[in-house]
Symmetry: C2
Subunit: 574 residues, 2 copies
């Protein structure tokens, strides 16, 4: 029973020394990857470097207890960090401390929102973010993130959370490029790109075992960090105005409750919801993918609770919004993590790093972190979804194109909201103009198919229309128009049969339209029949007068309808 709320009880039962070893190995590898990433995403979010480390401790512990994925690696991620920067940046706060407080409030609100969704079992809400919208959004975010980090490579000031602003400020300040910073940045970019593209291949050629080759490749950012720290020390880069991470307070975060100022809460409410939903969708999709590989299950609502508590923990320990990261989770999985305990051990690893490495990290050039981010996010940029949707369906394509375009031009919040809105509107528009096919029998099969697609038999006195959509307020008048349009094209028509195989609902607006169609057909002496009405729809209709006033019958099958109406006509004509 308790295991329903605490998924950890489940895996703890079978925990043994073998799982422990696997989890420890994975934790070491993820820690090595996470140290530079956590600093980098803090930079991206606009908070002090140590905040990235803080957000990589307590949240992981809480997710270990409450999360339902065995291998998801929670912590700071690129898109959520960008969204944090974008939403807090627009508040116009004055001091760095206010900014940090706002980031904590944002994490708290996200956490509470996710937790509430999970407890209320509202996980299904995330389904309204369609796959094309999410893909398009992540691609556009990747471009924005990469561009926003370019100024750290150049050592210039600038800002903005959309393409026009970013490019504008960058061109303005291009003249003040700091050559030392640029040298470090270009070196780090080159080093990481080479590592990403060729290192694993080279290692394989040198017969390094695959697993080791993978670990070494993933450790490339750490190597870049070490090399540029030494460079900064030896060449005294700080004196040449190269931006360094600077003093990080050594020691673990202390627990604190962020000041929940009412005005601030109101302004951050919508951004918090957007960050939560995007983070959750990103997280659940990687979680599901990994779980499926090992035949494990993800519980959507439990996942919301896990991510919710992780964000609340982040807020209470001085961190910013976190979620399950894609690449880090894949590394965790590939490194052999068996249970969420790997996350717990990672948190310990980050704690050790925070206690011991701060003196060295102070010398780290920000350009190195920027290079780490750029190389990581360019992996997210993938325009193939445009081609894929173009080939498959125009509506899906429009949704992706709108999401990418608006995100690039107006920033992440408006971008993703517009994308969701556009995909819903397109869906509603489509259902508001349903496909209505005239059907006939494929000779001798009792099967009724579209007369335009199949060779079928029809009767001149019976018009059979199949409506390929539920009938509801948005398409009821369209149906009416189509029926009368068909009617005006026919002479000698005696019966109209509405084949309802695809009608899953008839709402009251549609019912009233059907009643009015029935009245008009009755006046014109034309029978109005239904066939193949589904059980749930019939249940509703039976509560109304419609069936009594129907100028015709309800047939179990379209075949029966046509047979019986044709027979009736024959008898009448005798």
């Amino acid at each position: 029973m308790l295991a329903n709320f605490l998924p950890c009880i489940d895996w703890m039962r079978t925990y043994n020394s073998r799982t422990l070893t696997d989890d420890l190995v994975a934790a070491v590898i993820v820690t090595i990857m996470l140290v530079p990433q956590s600093l980098a995403y803090a930079l991206l979010a606009g908070v002090p470097a140590e905040v990235g480390l803080y957000a990589s401790m307590m949240p992981l512990v809480l997710y270990t207890v409450f999360g339902s994925s065995r291998t998801l690696a929670v912590g700071p991620v690129a898109v959520a960090s960008l969204m944090t920067a974008s939403s807090i940046g627009s508040l116009g706060l004055e001091t760095a401390d206010q900014y940090l407080q706002a980031a904590m409030v944002l994490a708290m609100l996200s956490g509470l929102f996710l937790l509430a969704l999970g407890i209320l079992r509202f996980g299904f809400l995330a389904n309204f973010l369609s796959h094309p919208v999410v893909s398009g959004f992540i691609t556009a975010s990747g471009i924005i993130i990469a561009l926003s980090q370019t100024r750290h490579i150049l050592g210039i000031s600038g800002g903005g959370d959309n393409l026009p602003e970013l490019i504008g400020t960058m061109l303005e300040n291009l003249g003040s490029t700091n050559t030392s910073t640029f040298a470090v940045g270009i070196f780090a970019l080159g080093f990481l790109t080479v590592a990403r593209v060729w290192l694993k291949k080279w290692l394989s050629m040198m017969r390094v075992p695959d697993f080791m080759a993978g670990v070494i490749t993933k450790a490339a950012p750490v190597m870049a960090v070490i090399i540029t720290i030494i460079w900064a020390d030896v060449a005294s880069l700080g004196e040449q105005n190269v931006a360094l991470v600077g003093m990080i307070p050594a020691g673990l975060p202390s627990l604190m409750i962020p000041a929940l100022d009412v005005g601030l809460v109101r302004e951050l409410m919508l951004p918090a919801i957007l960050i939560s939903v995007i983070g959750y969708v990103e997280s659940i999709s990687v979680g599901k993918t990994l779980a499926a590989k090992r035949r494990q299950k993800i519980n959507q609502n439990q996942e919301l609770i896990g991510l919710g508590t992780a964000n609340i923990a982040s807020a209470l320990s001085g961190g910013f919004p976190v979620t399950g990261g894609f690449s880090r989770s894949v590394v965790n999985f590939d490194a052999g993590a068996q249970t969420p305990a790997a996350g717990f051990f990672t948190a310990i690893g980050i704690a050790i790093a925070t206690l011991t490495l701060t003196d060295y990290l102070a010398l780290l050039p920000k350009a190195t972190l920027a290079a780490t981010i750029i190389v990581a996010v360019l992996g997210l940029v993938d325009f193939s979804i445009l081609k894929k949707t173009w080939n498959y369906s125009r509506n899906d394509f429009i949704a992706v194109a709108v999401t990418i375009g608006v995100t690039l031009i107006s920033g992440v919040e408006i971008g993703v909201s517009t994308g969701v809105f556009a995909s819903l509107v397109l869906h509603l528009y489509k259902t508001s103009r349903p496909h209505i096919a005239e059907v006939g029998e494929i000779k001798g099969t009792k099967h009724f198919r579209n007369i335009k697609r199949h060779k079928v038999e029809t009767s001149p006195s019976v018009l059979s229309l199949r409506v390929d959509e539920s009938l509801y307020f948005a398409n009821a008048s369209y149906l009416e128009e189509e029926i009368f349009r068909n009617l005006s094209e026919r002479k000698n028509l005696k019966h109209i049969v509405l084949m309802c195989t695809a009608v899953n609902e008839i709402d009251i607006s549609a019912l009233e339209v059907l009643e009015s169609i029935n009245e008009i057909l009755k006046e014109q002496g034309i029978g109005f029949h239904l066939s193949e009405v589904k059980g749930p729809v019939m249940d509703h209709l039976e509560n109304t007068h419609f069936l009594h006033s129907l100028n015709g019958q309800v047939f179990l099958s379209q075949y029966q309808a046509v047979q019986s109406l044709a027979l009736e006509d024959t008898l009448l004509s005798l």
Copy 2:
């Protein structure tokens, strides 16, 4: 060709002395009805009385030229006037002239919006206002209007655009009731109520011909107006602080362009859209009803153009938002109007009234106008839609209840927006959790029906699921969960057949879920088949790799699927 844009060309071709006589008679009757109504709705909208008259001239002329309904009577109506008052009232304007300018801007924006919708052929947008939402909204508006007029009957000050405010200010000021005003108000209310409920019956008993009885009944407001004007004159009601209409500038409106202040335009944009859409829906529904009675047709987009030009004309001649009124159109129709020329003659009638009657109308007590409004709008209040939807479908009921509740508590704009939003969300929620039925064959019929509703035959190795909804992003993961839930309950399962009779679309998000289901089933050695896939859906699927990688087949019919899979099993077990 030109008749496509100017529907008047169509009816002018056959215009003759007989149609002229019919239209003139109807115009006289409608004019008699419209004089007090136009003054009353101006009072309701919060603009000077003459503005009501102005809004009843030029708009009617333009609608005569551009409208597609033969019998719609355009002009000031109750709900649009209330919405005008509510949206301008919230701007906090200081002078009466600013208020009037804002009303003209509102009419201009409404007109431009309607015209744009019509030209872009976006008339279908109105379909998203479901019948329950419109009914609920009109009922709630009727209550608000009646309550807002009660203060004129009592002769007290007050205001507000929702129930709590209206009741609050009324109770506050109840002590300062003006007895003379109250006397006039109660007389007018009683007179109009008696006329509405009993007059026609009495006249019939006295063998007055039906048509004449109808005219006399409709003229009751004019009689109330005449009686109370005489009363005001004889008893010098003005000196007893009874609010009178006061001086109306004699003469026709002059053309003027409202000052389109940018700030004002921005604030009135959303209200203008709401007024337009509500007005259009009200108008088109009465237009369609009347047209159907005479086998005429209404063109949705032309109707938008007609109403759009009418509103622009109203703005340019000093008026406020207008639309097709329900009761007035019915009177016009019953009085025998044959063509929109009746509207043109009505406009002339109003012009004559404006030129000749202003001295008399100055003495008219506002209480009489308030009584006219109250008696008219109480006819709109109809709670039966609550009972009807309750019996039919819970979703429709919730939409009505939400619309009525929010409109009463928070006012018209929030009310109708919330109603539309609620009905769309309810619809989307419903489609996000589709009905999925396991089906079997009704013995010997080749018909497959829900195993829970019909006596059917199934095979232990084949699971046939019928999904009663299009597959799209919002329900794709629900389908996945349901399939695996069904799977986990079955042993010895060899095939899953998805019966797609009700699947009208598979979007790319759903396609990806189907691909992942297919992969997982393939690993488990279970076949994944589709049956009865519709043409348009198949067209899309054929553009993808899905059909090639499908671990099974696509069958034309469910019967073929089951037959062939059962046969295969038999052959394999030999």
